[in-house]
């Protein structure tokens, strides 16, 4: 299966790690033979229609900062768009940085992929948060698949759990801790009684939070995930602008203290219960949703099955890459059935 990988950061490189480590095993068990024919980053692209040597590309990326530095296969002038337009492949993986205001370059990359008949796996939430209904419609129109397991819950199969395990049931409400960074900060503040600023600093030191942490602490990352869950699982058509969002900047130690006295915790909760919201809320300490540290948790309230909670690490390069691998296998099965039908 020929793959174009757009964006070669933490997630992209973790994915090539997985391909290198599990190649033979994958082949045997799943009949899946990934061939990465092009990789791009901000510096340009590396292309080999016979399949790139991933070891070589990894070391060039580490040494030179861009895959385009490859003396044989590198192309400094070529953008992701050029690649998706001109290179034949079954799949485009979109793993560029999230831009929550414009969705670019992700949205254009995905549209071009659809247009040229490529299936898409994205870990980038931006395009989905801003135009989920449009992208789904375009995928169907072009008869290609769009998969995005890595956007919610990292390696934890939150979307698949709801979609497959609760099939047939009617999910009425969803509540979740959807962002590891903010959960870490709130946990630090509550347990170690440190200020918001201190906790944020420590999250940044550990590599949980970005240098510009706004997307996390202002609740945008959680809201993007609410959009994805709401559209995909509950079939509600809405985008980021329809979500009411409050972040955690104004949470004081005092507020945490008061909650604690009542046997409760303050968590940044994304909910779809009528109107989609993201806001800090008090929840019972023994509620299964009440997880600590960088963990994520989501509770599905459904008509017959009742409350189900799924807990796991919400992010991380290798975890997210493993979700991409699941999506790739899912697409491979779909394609195989389609080709043979």
């Amino acid at each position: 299966m020929r793959i174009i990988l757009i964006g070669y950061g933490v997630v992209g490189q973790s994915l090539t790690d997985i391909f290198l480590q599990r190649k033979i095993e994958n082949l045997r068990n799943y009949g899946f033979n990934p061939k990465v024919v092009a990789i791009t980053d901000r510096g340009g692209a590396a292309i080999n229609i016979k399949g790139l040597d991933l070891k070589r590309i990894q070391s060039i990326k580490k040494r030179e900062g861009t895959v385009a530095a490859d003396s044989v296969f590198g192309h400094r002038q070529m953008s992701g768009q050029d690649i998706i337009q001109s290179i034949e492949a079954e799949i485009m993986i979109e793993a560029t940085s999230t831009n929550i205001t414009t969705g670019e370059p992700g949205i254009s990359n995905i549209k071009t992929a659809f247009n040229t008949g490529k299936h898409v796996v994205t870990t980038n939430k931006g395009p989905l948060a801003l135009s989920f209904p449009t992208l789904i419609e375009l995928a169907e129109h072009n008869k290609v698949l769009l998969r995005f397991s890595g956007t919610v819950g990292g390696g934890t199969p939150i979307l698949e759990f709801a979609k497959k395990c609760l099939e047939g049931d009617r999910i009425k409400e969803i509540h979740g801790i959807l962002n590891g960074t903010t959960n870490y900060i709130l946990t630090e503040m509550a347990e170690k009684k440190v200020t918001f600023e201190k906790a944020l600093e420590s999250a940044q030191k550990l590599g949980y939070a970005e240098t510009n942490p706004a997307m996390d602490i202002d609740g945008l990352d959680s809201a993007a995930k609410v959009v994805i869950i709401g559209n995909w699982i509950m079939n509600k058509k809405f985008t980021l602008k329809d979500v009411d969002i409050i972040g955690i900047r104004d949470i004081t130690l005092n507020a945490l203290e008061i909650a604690s006295k009542k046997g409760k915790r303050i968590k940044l909760i994304g909910s779809i219960d009528g109107k989609p919201t993201v806001a800090p809320k008090e929840i019972e300490r023994n509620d299964p949703l009440c997880v600590n540290g960088v963990l994520n948790a989501v509770t599905f309230v459904s008509e017959y099955a009742g409350r189900e909670t799924i807990i796991g690490r919400g992010a991380g390069g290798i975890e997210t890459a493993s979700a991409v691998l699941r999506d790739l296998l899912d697409i491979k099965h779909h394609l195989a059935n389609k080709i043979l039908s």
Binding site: N29, F32, L340
Partner: protein, 468 residues
């Protein structure tokens, strides 16, 4: 007196001098009392220029039309200058050429504004290359004091279905019209010059014949007029025993059966497209491949009787490069009905053309030869569809191979040919990777490493004394 359809391709009429040469050839036949119907392609290179230009224009670059038109006009006017001596005729022809190009210009502007190029429009654009060529060749014949008139394939009466880009002739309708329109001219000693490739559907909308092109026009006219022979004039002496670039002493074949010629065309010998042979096969009209630059040579005659005359078992050897071999292995294919059919369906759905197949049921193995430029798509599709579901457990490919095809009608039922071929190759210590015999039994083809190809070809060439 014979009636002969003569087709001249792009190189034969590539320059003014060449067109005079063509006129001379036609005059010589006329002098002998033969009646000639001429079919022409566009001047060398023009068809590709037209397609390229039309495609570029869909991107809306109107500015380039002027330059292109200027270039095209110059090319044709220069050709006219050299081809035609008579002053008055020269000016008349130039005037007509300009008028035709003006018409083209309007269509090009249209494409530019609409921003798209349908197959229908593309056929229209393409037609101008042949129309200009027919005009010039016909005028040159007049310059040689022959009576001549030029026609588009449509005006000559050829009618096709509406499959733009690859139309099929409606033979009965066509015959009726061609007899009505062209036959009377022959009686009056007029040489009709007809555009190859360009024809029209029953509503008069232009279509093109696609693969087979101008040769196809020539054979259609040949059948419609029930001619004695169709001559395809080209720039080689005829069909050769092998590619002269590989085998220096390759010889021109004097006679071939229709089946042999079709087989060779499939294997890429510089001959006619099998589609163009279809009409004449049914009517047993002989086709002769001849060299415009060496008209003394009688060329290769393709006819029904040819195979009986010759004694050689292997007549020609083709080397086909730029191919790849795919091997599919898997116990799941043994005795599983339809598993090979599945493979072909998968490839067919993805527009991948299978050139050669061989299977070894005992080893649960199938080998397939395809074009190199389709390898990546083929591999990816096969892997997705077959791996991991008990159908195949290993799919591999080699892109450094070539196919060698030994052909000849007398190979049918003749024992020992294969063993002679393979031992000739084995003597050169060349490993054979795959063998197949087509159902026509007119060829044996096999696969070797690309670097061994020329040596294997010359070993067989020698074994069957093809240079003698």
């Amino acid at each position: 007196m014979k009636i002969i359809v003569m087709k001249f391709g792009g190189t034969s009429i590539g320059t003014g001098e060449n067109i005079r040469n063509v006129a001379n050839i036609v005059r010589n036949s006329s002098k002998k009392g033969d009646k000639v119907v001429v079919v022409v392609s566009a001047l060398a290179g023009v068809t590709n220029q037209l397609i390229h230009e039309a495609e570029e224009l869909t991107k809306g670059k109107e500015g380039r039309i002027q330059e292109f038109v200027k270039e095209l006009t110059e090319k044709h006017l220069q050709t006219i200058d050299i081809a035609i001596e008579n002053k008055k005729l020269k000016e008349e022809t130039k005037h007509s050429a300009k008028k035709i190009i003006e018409e083209l210009e309007k269509i090009l502007i249209g494409i530019c504004y609409v921003g798209e190029l349908t197959l229908k429009t593309k056929d229209q654009v393409l037609s101008f290359g042949e129309r200009l060529a027919a005009l010039i060749v016909s005028a040159t014949l007049r310059d040689y004091n022959l009576e001549s008139q030029y026609f588009t394939g449509k005006e000559a009466g050829i009618v096709t279905d509406s499959k733009f880009g690859e139309a099929n002739p409606l033979m009965n309708f066509t015959t009726h019209q061609v007899i009505e329109r062209i036959k009377p001219l022959l009686k009056k000693n007029v040489v009709p010059v007809i555009t190859g490739f360009i024809v029209a559907n029953q509503d008069g909308v232009l279509t093109t014949l696609g693969r087979g092109g101008s040769d196809y026009t020539a054979t259609i006219l040949g059948v419609a007029l029930d001619v004695d022979e169709v001559w395809i004039w080209t720039d080689v002496d005829g069909i050769m025993t092998s590619d002269p670039k590989i085998i220096l002493d390759a010889k021109t074949l004097t006679g071939l059966s229709y089946g042999e010629a079709a087989e060779m065309a499939i294997f890429g010998a510089k001959a006619m497209h099998p589609r163009a042979l279809e009409p004449v096969i049914k009517k047993h009209i002989p086709v002769r491949i001849r060299n415009v630059f060496n008209p003394k040579n009688h060329g290769t005659l393709i006819s029904e009787g040819a195979k009986v005359e010759s004694k050689e078992v292997v007549k020609a050897i083709a080397l086909i490069t730029d191919v790849s071999m795919i091997n599919i292995r898997g116990a799941g294919m043994v005795g599983a009905p339809g598993s090979y059919a599945k493979i072909f369906r998968i490839l067919g759905k993805n527009n991948i053309n299978v050139m050669m197949v061989s299977t070894a049921v005992s080893e649960a193995n199938i080998s397939i030869i395809i074009r190199n430029n389709q390898l990546e798509r083929a591999m990816s599709t096969l892997e997705i569809a077959l791996l991991g579901r008990d159908l195949a457990n290993k799919i591999t490919s080699e892109d450094d191979v070539c196919v060698i095809a030994a052909m000849g009608a007398n190979m049918k039922g003749s024992l020992g040919v294969a063993s002679r071929i393979f031992s000739a190759v084995a003597k050169k210590k060349i490993n054979i990777h795959m063998i197949a015999q087509g159902s026509s039994e007119l060829n044996i083809s096999f696969v070797v490493k690309e670097r061994d190809g020329p040596i294997a070809v010359s070993a067989i060439h020698e074994e069957f004394n093809l240079n003698k």
